[in-house]
């Protein structure tokens, strides 16, 4: 019964999304207050019913209702409660439902916190969000119903993919989706602006906090995915340039360009049409990612579903939404003119470079991801592009980006002078270079050009962020949330660059075969396989090793890597043993039982790898701090009270 209620709720949510679109857009066009109010109410209704459907599916998982096909496919009776709940989004249908719920949630938040906007504009934003909801709900109901019954019911389920039975991966999709879907808000604001043919830059101010919030979630989601890949896949890698990873990274790059370009549009009224285009692009890339992952056009290790009907549907939806927005852009954007000029070393031009480099990296990654498809369509045969390509095309724009970032942060709006900061910046650059040389030579005993450049740029960005903070504090300037967020995020970016340089330059990875009592050595650390024992979990059995790590005869730590066999079958899973450190990680993963008490072991030394994720979290934190800048709330309150006064007197 409960699954049927869920299915019915989903259909009601679709009808309400249709109402939201018609009343939202129609009400704005006809300036009909009643219709616009109806559009707003539909948002709440759509959220309630989508949440009800989500709750019904969750309930089916919690109750182990194996008469529901999706539940039987993605869980089994031994699965612990936490993972039974996470299993709701462990497959194609449920993750779509999560997507729809996230979209309904954002729509509700936008509706609740946009009272200060003019009614028709607000109504258009709501209508466009409703249109996107229609697409996802219809997709689910037509091709991917999560409530499909299984007759007769399965005695037990298949189990959730063991790779997904992990805390980081349980929380990774919801956070990632909040980010992906959050760009729908910026998209809707941009489309509403274009529809109205607004010439002012006010929309940039309204969009900024929403975009920052979405971008923050996306950053955390990507970082979680990378962290998970590191300890769970057993490779010790942290980024693989897999099409699915690229699908989340491309909207992130577009979003990063967008938040920077929004700053220029808000502050100076420049780059108006470019910013609108970026807002459309960021969400289009989220949709494109969905299409790539779900249609099976690109074969990836973790592509979700390969059903041509689904591919056709997502493609049709993608084409409608994106092409509609881009045509709207072509029609309206030519009217937007940026009157003000700026000088070459003003902050505007640094942000222009920022956008150029980010978009270049984005374009090249998109090209690499779609390359097999292009070759295919042009009948040139199938050719794949791998990590060496992606590493190169990402590195080339990122180096100048980091170099300019350090100066750009200190540049003033409009004016071309660095106002006496030049000497300090030169000094900072020289110290960063000196520190990079010392770090390479003294700590790692090796000087390589690319490593030195990497360390230098990382330290330069970190130093520049600190310098900016110190100067603001010393100058007794008010420290706004936006500036503080910027400083934190850039500091985090520097840390991440430091980590990437360290781990890519000095990591040591070795596969060894060890018997109990034997030792292998990397980077001065002796890894001794001390003991092996059998372990048993709720739904798996496995082997755990004690790997004693010592340096110069002194014990450092004991790593406990596991190899697990889940009852539901499939490949054995690797749980790496990792000793976390500020300067390095020590990593051991069990390979295979070689017989006679010998095991193959993958042992790794990963210098500075933690800073990649720490940096990413700080980047996200910076985004969050900037999103909650008091300015946005004050402005909203001011407009709200003005509107209230006007309403009372009028």
């Amino acid at each position: 019964m409960i699954p049927e209620i869920g299915h019915f709720a989903l259909i009601l949510a679709l009808l309400l999304a249709i109402a939201q679109t018609l009343f939202g857009l129609g009400g704005a066009a006809r300036r009909h207050a009643g219709w616009m109010a109806a559009g707003r109410s539909a948002v709440a209704g759509q959220f309630v019913f989508t949440a009800l459907a989500f709750g019904a599916l969750t309930w089916a998982f919690v109750q182990r209702d194996f008469s529901v096909l999706y539940v039987a496919t993605n869980s089994n009776s031994e699965l612990p409660l936490l993972y039974r709940i996470a299993a709701v989004w462990g497959g194609h249908e449920g993750s779509l439902l999560l997507w729809a719920l996230a979209l309904a949630g954002w729509s509700l938040a936008v509706t609740a916190f946009s009272r200060s906007l003019e009614a028709p504009f607000r109504s258009r934003v709501i209508g466009i969000l409703g249109f996107i909801s229609i697409g996802f709900l219809l997709f689910m109901i037509a091709t991917s119903n999560p409530f499909q019954r299984l007759v007769p019911p399965a005695p037990d389920g298949n189990d959730l993919n063991p790779l997904l039975q992990d805390f980081a991966l349980a929380v990774h999709p919801p956070i990632l989706y909040l980010g992906y879907v959050g760009f729908a808000v910026a998209f809707s604001f941009a489309c509403a602006t274009l529809l109205e043919g607004r010439l002012d830059a006010g929309w940039a101010r309204w969009t900024r906090p929403w975009t920052l919030a979405a971008w923050m979630f996306l950053t955390v989601g990507i970082a979680l995915g990378s962290w998970w890949a590191y300890y769970e896949l057993g490779w010790g890698g942290w980024w693989f340039w897999d099409p699915v990873e690229n699908a989340s990274f491309m909207p992130w790059l577009a979003g990063t360009a967008l938040i920077h370009s929004l700053a220029v549009t808000e502050k100076r009224g420049l780059f108006k049409s470019w910013t609108l285009l970026l807002a459309v692009t960021a969400f289009s890339l989220s949709l494109l990612g969905t299409f790539l992952v779900r249609s099976g056009v690109l074969i990836s290790v973790h592509a979700f579903a390969t059903d041509p009907a689904r591919g056709v549907f997502v493609l049709a939806f993608l084409a409608t939404v994106v092409l509609g927005a881009l045509l709207l852009y072509a029609w309206r954007a030519p009217r937007l003119k940026s009157a003000a000029g700026f000088e070459i070393s003003s902050r505007e031009s640094f942000l222009l470079f920022n956008n150029a480099f980010l978009v270049a990296a984005l374009g090249l990654i998109l090209l690499g991801t779609l390359y097999p498809l292009f070759m295919d369509a042009l009948r040139l045969g199938k050719i794949s592009v791998g990590p060496p390509y992606f590493e190169l095309v990402f590195l080339v724009p990122m180096l100048p980006l980091l170099a300019l970032l350090g100066v750009g942060m200190h540049a003033a709006w409009k004016r071309g002078t660095l106002a006496g900061k030049r000497r300090r910046l030169v000094l900072l650059a020289l110290s960063a270079l000196a520190a990079a040389l010392v770090a390479g030579a003294a700590v790692y005993g090796e000087l390589r050009p690319l490593t030195t450049i990497g360390f230098m740029l990382a330290l330069w960005v970190i130093g520049s962020a600190i310098l900016e903070l110190v100067q603001r504090l010393r100058g007794r300037q008010a420290l706004s949330g936006a500036v503080l967020g910027m400083v934190i995020a850039h500091f985090g970016l520097g840390l991440a660059a430091l980590g990437i340089t360290g781990v890519q330059s000095f990591r040591i990875e070795k596969d060894v075969a060890l018997g109990v009592g034997e030792t292998a050595t990397i980077a001065g650390y002796d890894f001794r396989l001390a003991a092996l024992r059998d372990v048993r979990g709720p739904n798996f059995v496995g082997v755990e090793a004690d790997v004693l790590v010592a340096k110069d005869g002194r014990a450092v730590t004991t790593l406990r890597p596991q190899k697990r066999l889940y009852h539901s079958g499939g490949n054995p899973m690797t749980e790496a043993g990792i000793e976390v450190g500020a300067a390095r990680d020590l990593f051991a993963a069990l390979g295979e039982d070689l017989g006679q008490g010998r095991w193959s072991l993958r042992i790794q030394y990963k210098p500075l790898i933690r800073y990649i994720w720490l940096g990413a979290l700080l980047i996200a934190l910076g985004g969050g701090v900037a999103a909650f800048d008091r300015r946005y709330r004050r402005a909203a309150e001011a407009r709200e009270s003005a509107a209230a006064t006007a309403g009372a007197s009028g």
Partner: protein
């Protein structure tokens, strides 16, 4: 109203992309000819899967026809075709070399131990660099390399008896004794 071209460019570029997607969705990935066919086979010299100290190089097999089969333990199609590969290996008409792609060494070795090993040698390609040279798009893929060192035939997806008999066997030299 006339729209300046540069504002239409994003829409045009996106339309082109959609066309590519439509073509991509309609194509059967198994039926695409490899651009490599007729061209010299890309050379490789990788670690052997069985023993990191050994090298498995394409040059080792020069001068006679040989098969290159790209596989991985995470690939369901590879499991599907494995029985047939064993049967082909037993026929002993052409040596089969494996390319273990983006895989875990220990898992791969266990796979061969449990399911049987049809390969004369297996090159280990954990990062997929060799596979890129060969234009590998998904596993499994099977290539036939001729006596002259050029790629003669390629099949994407699990090998079937029918495809083997129809597309590969006619290209093999006639076994001594039958001719």
């Amino acid at each position: 109203m006339k729209v300046p071209l540069r504002f239409l460019l994003p829409a045009i570029a996106f339309t082109a992309l959609v066309v590519v997607f439509v073509v991509g969705l309609r194509q059967d990935p198994g039926r695409i000819q490899s651009p490599l066919i007729g061209k010299p086979a890309p050379a490789f010299a990788n670690e052997s899967l069985a023993d990191p100290a050994w090298r498995v190089a394409s040059a080792d097999f020069a001068g006679r026809p040989w098969l290159l089969n790209v596989w991985a333990t995470w690939c369901a199609g590879c499991r599907e075709e494995h029985e047939l590969l064993l049967a082909i290996a037993r026929e002993n008409r052409v040596p089969m070399v494996g390319l273990n792609w983006r895989d875990d060494r220990s898992l791969a070795l266990r796979w061969l131990e449990q399911l049987g090993n049809p390969y004369l040698a297996v090159a280990f390609d954990p990062e997929g660099r060799t596979a890129i040279d060969w234009g590998v798009y998904g596993a499994p893929e099977t290539f036939l390399i001729g006596t002259d060192g050029s790629v003669r035939q390629k099949h994407i997806g699990p090998m079937t008896r029918d495809i083997w008999e129809r597309e590969f066997v006619p290209l093999l030299p006639v076994p001594a004794g039958e001719g």
